[in-house]
Structure formats: C-alpha cells, structure tokens
Amino acid sequence: MIGNHDRRVIIVGGGIAGLAVARLLSENGLPFTLVERSDKLGGHTKDWACMAVDECKNCFCCLVFDYEDTVASCRNSEILVGYELSSVVSSDSGIQRVKVRQVDSGAEQEIQASALVLAIGFDTFDPVDKGFWGYGQIDGVLTLADLNHIIRSNDLGKLSPVPEGALDVAFFQCIGSRDKSIGANYCSQYCCGSAIRAALKLIHEVPGCNVSIFYIDLQLPGKTTRDLMEEAQEKGVRFLQGVPGEIRPLQEGGLQVISEIDGQNVAERFDRIVLSVGQRPSASAAAISKILGAPLNEFGFFETRTLFDAVRSPANGVYIAGSCSSPASIPDVAVSAGTVVSAIIADIEKAS
C-alpha cells in the first residue's frame, strides 16, 4: 500500500485528463477526490464525435466513456460534481488540506490531501474577434467544435442546403494557433489530425461532399496520422497550402475565399467553412493559479518545473495533467496522466 489513506489526491477537473489520472490512481490503490465544477464529467471530449467510418480512426473520443465507467466504480474515492476548489493549506512538504465549495450552494467542505492534480483543461478558441472570418456573422462559417457537435447529434443533414446537391466544405487550419497577434504563438497539437478525420467522416456520411483543407503546414506526428492524410488524398480531399484570411458571403449564396493556387490568386466558392480552432488556456487558470501559488507561463498555461519535469508545478505538491499545461491531443493527455501518477507515487514513496 502506498501512502496514508486518510489523505487523498485531489483532482481538479473532470475532463479526460482528470478521469485518466483518477483511473490510474485507483489502479495503484491511491484514494482520490475528483472535483468538477460543471454539472457533468467528460469535458470537451464528451461533446466531440466518434470519427470512425468503416473502421476506427483513432480519434480516442470514446476513451472518455471507458474512463468514466472505471472511475465511477473506484472504491475509497469520491467524485464531486458541481464543486470547485476554494482554498488550500500547504506546508513545505506539500499540500495538507483543501477546501472545496459547492458551486450552487456555496457550502464548503475540507479534505485532508496528499497531493493536488490540476486537470482543468483548455478553452476552445473563440474566433468571434477575428472579424475577417465572420464567425457568428456569416451563415455557414462554423468551428471544428461546432461540426463535432453536429456530427455527434446526428444532424449532418443540417450541413447540406440541397439534399441531393454537392456540399463543398473547406477547413481552415491554425485558427487561434500559431498567432502572435493573440498571444498564441504555439501549435494546438490536435487540430490537423482532427480536421482530416472530420473530412473523412464527412465524405463517408454525406454523399456529394467535397472537402478542401487549407493549412499553413500540416502537423501530423505519430505513426497513424500520415496514413490518414494519404487516405484523405485518395478519397479526394484537397490539401492547399495557405489559409485564406477572409471569408466573403456571396449574394447568390455560398462563401467566397481567395487563395494562391499554382501561383495564381484564385477565388473559390464553398458552402461551409470549418475553422479548426485551437486551444487557449482555461479562463479559470488565473484564479486557480492564485489559490495554489502555481505560476502560469507566458501563454497562460500552467508552468511546469522544467521541460523534462513536465508534470510538477513549481508549487510543492501540485501536479499538472493534460492540456492545462500545454495544448494536447487525447493520446497526449493520456500519456501525461500516466506521468503525473508516476510522479505522485514516486514523491509519496520518497517522503515515507
């Protein structure tokens, strides 16, 4: 048995990162209290759609359901949905006690803690301030998150204005990522793969659907994503370098964009444009940073001790899982959860 079971590991955030950490802690016999501020577990992942077509495309969205089931049956642990972190008492050796507050009633309770894991995730970039793309103003411009919600709710018919007609869809990559003008000079990691999976899904589900992906340069790490791209090319997805900076609604319907193709400025028409929105630091990061004394980095994500100690916060006893320290894809989050749990076990053993 590792550690003292009267004290728990507090997990802040019940998205896929928090659930992954909870599951691994439980597998290692460590009790936890998971605190989730919203009224449901699962975070962003639960709103996103399975991208399987004839076979699984490794989007990993379904992991969240497995994790949730496992976590719900963990013994000696508790899950507090509708609660948030309100304060913490630490000593030199780390976190001692935390107080959590029920969001609705404001009622507080205190928990003896051995460690605290931040897993508060990210906020989806809201492109509404990027006026040239007209999100929220021009019909037919949606985000990758919107598209996922549409697919998830089996509402793809909504995309096609004419049931039998062709549907021309364009994806714009790096929206809210790699953009110094909004303090987001980083790659959001998940969007290239997600856009390609969504392209394959659309082609599979919507007859007559043509897809073009406008990118700066495709970021496709890992052993499966290159194959995905080749498959997409075989299925007719166009990959075009250069992201159009403006969307114009046409009088006769549809959306016009201009891009450079083979050295010429070419105007094209699309029915729908999907903005592949990046990951921004969570809006609650600043407040939580204050409560814990856990510093944020230049982008507003949680700082870690070093590049190679990427799960420990400079604040003693605070560990950082998933996308609240850096933009991450679902597999990255799962790996980070494993590293967090290893670090917690190592630190508890060292202390005892």
Partner: protein
C-alpha cells in the same frame, strides 16, 4: 534608411530602420492570410502580398520592384491586419518603392512633389505669399457667402504665437478643392477656436513617406514639428488627411527620436471633443438621407480612430448605416498611398475599387462620409465615374452643415 542596391535589398529590409514595426521579413511562415485580404488580388492575379515576401527572400525582388503592383498598392495595411507574425506590408512595400526609386523607376509627379516640398515647404510649390493671398481671398469669399447669417466672423490668423491650435491643411484645400478650406474656416469660426495658420508650413502631406524615403520624410516632419514649437501651439491640428495625420500621431516621435512636446489631434477628434463638452451647436437629425462612413485606412486601421467620427455622424442623423466590413477590416477606397497622385497609374485606381463600390451600394446610403482628403477625392471620382446615387462628404462638412441647418 540607407540607399540600398537591389542585390542586398532583402538584407536592407531586414535591417532595423526608423520605420515602425520594421521586422525581419523572413519570419513570415507563409500562412497566406494576406493573399485574400488584398483588394488587388483579383486585379493582379499573379502577385500578392505573400509573394512579395517570398520573392524578396528568394533573391527575386527585382521582379517585384519592376512590377506595377507596388505602385497600385495603397499601403492600406489590410492584408497584414493581425498578421500572426506581426509583419506590416505597408512598411515592406515602401521599402521596395525606395529601391525602385533608386533605379529611376519612381513616379515622376510624386518625386517632383517631394522636391518641391523639400525646397519650398509644400508639394505644390506654392510660395508663402501666394498661400497667404489665397487664404485671405477664401476668407473674403466665405464672409460674402455668409452675409446675413448670424455667424459671419470668419477670419484666418497667421503665425499667431501662443494660439492653442496650429491648423495644418492639405494642399488640396488651397488648390483643387478650396470649398474644403472654407468648410474648415467656418468650423473654426462656429466653434470659436483659438487657432492659427503658419505662413511657412502649410502642407501636412508627406509624399516622401509614400516612396519609402525615410530621410526626406523625416525632414518634412521636422519642419512641421519645429514650426509648431516656434509658434508655441499646444495642439497641432491635422486636417482630414489620413497619412499626414498618421505620420504625425504615430511616427513623428520615433523618427525624430524625441518627444514632440505638443498634442497631435485630428480635426474630427477636436470636433468630437467639442461635442462631448457641449460646445458644438449641431442639430439632431439635420442631415437628409441615409449616411454611411468610410474608415480611411490611416485614420481607422492604423490609428484606431473609429468611434469619434461615428458619434459625430450619429449626433446629426437618425439614419446611419455601417458598411460591412468596417473599422479595422474596412476595405480601402483604392486611392491612397500615392496612387491618387501617381499620374503613371492613370485611372486604374478606379477599376481597382470594385469592392469598395459594391460595399457602398449595399448600404443604400445617400451620403458617404469620410475623413481623409485622399479618400474624399477617390470617392468623388468613384461617384462620378460610376454615376453612384451618393454624395461624398467629409465628416467636418457634415458637422458644419448641421450647425448651419
């Protein structure tokens, strides 16, 4: 700014110079956003802002320098609005123009204007006596026109030391469009401003800036700054002139390397200040027809003066309608950045303005207001050339009309 040769122009562009936001252009990661935002992308299908950077970095800048594109570009800056890498295309194009000028490819009329400005103090080569005569004649004309009205104390003080405001006109006001000057005379009279003109410095334009000639541009700015200090004005008041206002507000201190010691204010901002202080006797709903506002690139996108003109217009009309897109996304009128003055470009600026015309027509407005002499002139030509059912007015013109209504 050094006079660079073609072979090292990429290097020169990378060198820090006195221009704002001059950065290494090799940080461009070819995202391509600029391609589609350029209002010239369909008029010049084989060139675009991104290609300017790529070709320069690949040592093929001569193709750009020889192209008409750098002269059709209005330096509007729309293409690099919120550029992910923070590049400013207008800075890059001005640099390329400077290199072109060094090769004898500069537009003659503009270069002559710069010569006159450096020699005489204004780009039309008007001697101070002639300017004073012209103004005095305009004062008489205006006084005559206003006979019988309550407000008829038109005057134009010259070189009045200690006046609060030094007003700096655009030569258009005392050459091709004296009505504009009369409008401003009336504005100062109606607002009882403590103002003066200078008999030495009476040209806000800076064509050297258009040509990327930082040395000459700085000299012209220094003349203005020194005259303002000599007269002890608290406010250097810009006429409705986009680039002139932008340079004085945004670049002058950097170029001169010292604080100006006075405030640079646009006349629209001054009118807005009077409005807020209740000193502007305008009348609500006094302008007939639907009014829209064209954001001049320099006043809007580059200086962020968006709300003042709108609040003034809304104070005098009940029927204000926005063009779309507007404010920092506004589409250039097509006549700025020297294109309107560059006789080598013929009437191409009118053909390049299709998007602006469409935007105006869509509003259904009867009056298009703006606050830049260049935009006014271009919009006037667009109106005439296309028989548009609109009137083009400056914001101050509307304000004065409202006061007189």
């Amino acid at each position: 700014m050094d006079r660079g040769t073609i072979s090292n122009s990429a290097q020169n562009m990378n060198r820090t110079n006195s221009d704002e936001h001059s950065k290494n252009i090799d940080i461009c990661f070819t995202c391509g956003q600029c391609v589609s935002r350029c209002f010239l992308s369909q008029s010049y299908p084989d060139i675009n802002p991104r290609k300017i950077i790529r070709k320069t970095l690949l040592g093929r800048e001569r193709e750009i320098i020889d192209s008409e594109f750098i002269w059709a570009c209005t330096l509007c800056g729309r293409c690099t609005t919120d550029c992910p890498q923070g590049l400013h295309m207008d800075v890059i194009v001005r640099r390329l123009r400077f290199l072109a000028c060094g090769l004898g490819k500069g537009p003659k009329r503009i270069l002559q204007g710069i010569g006159k400005a450096l020699e005489v103090g204004n780009n039309v080569g008007m001697e101070p006596e002639a300017f004073v005569d012209m103004v005095e004649w305009l004062v008489e004309e205006t006084t005559e026109e206003m006979e019988g009205s309550e407000n008829n104390s038109i005057s134009a003080p010259f070189d009045k030391k200690g006046a609060e405001i030094l007003y700096l006109p655009n030569p258009r006001e005392y050459t091709s469009n004296p009505k504009m000057f009369q409008t401003y005379l009336k504005f100062f009279s109606y607002t009882e401003a403590d103002w003066t003109l200078s008999s030495r410095v009476f040209d806000i334009t800076n064509w050297a800036y258009y040509m990327g000639d930082a040395e000459a541009a700085t000299t012209l700015v220094r003349n203005i700054v020194e005259e303002t200090r000599r007269l002890g004005a608290k406010i250097l008041l810009s006429t409705e002139c986009g680039h002139g206002f932008k340079i004085l507000r945004k670049d002058a201190e950097t170029w001169l390397g010292e604080p100006l010691g006075f405030e640079v204010l646009g006349i629209v901002e001054l009118a807005h200040r009077y409005l807020k202080q209740g000193q502007l006797s305008i009348k609500p709903a006094s302008i007939e027809g639907r009014v829209t506002y064209h954001d001049p690139c320099n006043v809007g996108r580059k200086l962020g003066v968006f709300e003042e003109p709108r609040q003034l217009i809304k104070a005098i009309t009940d029927d204000f309608v926005e063009m779309w897109p507007n404010r920092k996304y506004s589409i250039c009128c097509g006549g700025g950045g020297s294109v309107g003055q560059n006789t080598d470009m013929g009437q191409k600026r009118l053909e390049h303005a299709r998007k602006k015309i469409d935007q105006i027509i869509k509003t259904g407005a009867n009056v298009v207001a703006t606050s830049c002499q260049n935009c006014l002139s271009q919009l006037d030509d667009l109106q005439a050339g296309n028989d548009l059912p609109i009137q083009v007015k400056s914001v101050i013109e509307l304000v004065v009309e409202s006061i007189e209504a």
